[in-house]
Symmetry: C2
Subunit: 118 residues, 2 copies
């Protein structure tokens, strides 16, 4: 029961739309995305797993939603800057529809639970 899904683990899948939302506004590299996510209400101030984040970025670039280039700079370590593509922007529009449906579905379920347990 300790790691039962009802406690809130295993219920995410929102990293992709979150990244698209942030990168829609400005290109960023992985580490700054990590820091921005951890201090943002958009991910509910949760710790982010860096491995998962970098892996997701690569996967999204492979899928054509992002493009990246290496930023080689005297002041910092080389870092990879990610930017959203047109496909990525379309994807985010789909996400809005999908997440809205999902939210409504969740509402129905929460309502059913309430009726049953109260």
């Amino acid at each position: 029961m300790d790691k039962c899904a009802c406690k809130g683990s295993f219920l995410d899948k929102l990293l992709q739309p979150t990244l698209l939302t942030i990168l829609y506004q400005k290109p960023l590299h992985g580490f700054s995305l990590l820091k921005e996510l951890e201090q943002s209400s958009i991910m509910d101030y949760h710790k982010i797993d860096p491995t998962g984040l970098y892996r997701t970025l690569k996967k999204m670039e492979h899928a054509g939603l992002l493009i990246s280039h290496l930023d080689i700079n005297d002041n910092t370590q080389p870092r990879r800057i990610y930017a959203i593509t047109e496909d990525g922007k379309d994807c985010l529009k789909h996400w809005k529809i999908t997440l809205t449906h999902y939210r409504n579905h969740l509402d129905t379920l929460i309502q059913s639970i309430t009726e049953v347990i109260d």
Copy 2:
């Protein structure tokens, strides 16, 4: 892009709380749960994968959330009836809290997407 998560696949994880909600009301066997789910707004009238359903039921029984017994009957095939346990009822109460947080998180994300794309 065809099977991008933004189109709505890979975004569920709600089978467990849904099953607990239904079984809170009355014990049922797998096949009738399958039919009930497919005709219910609670799962948004989606097709359910039988394999996943039966596997989830077994896993939940193993975790102590459900108990089952074989119903041997002259009129039907033998079938396994699942009922919710006290642990299962507690679990459903946790689910309500978890899903409510998750819904609020979703609301924030949808709001952010809207601000960005509009």
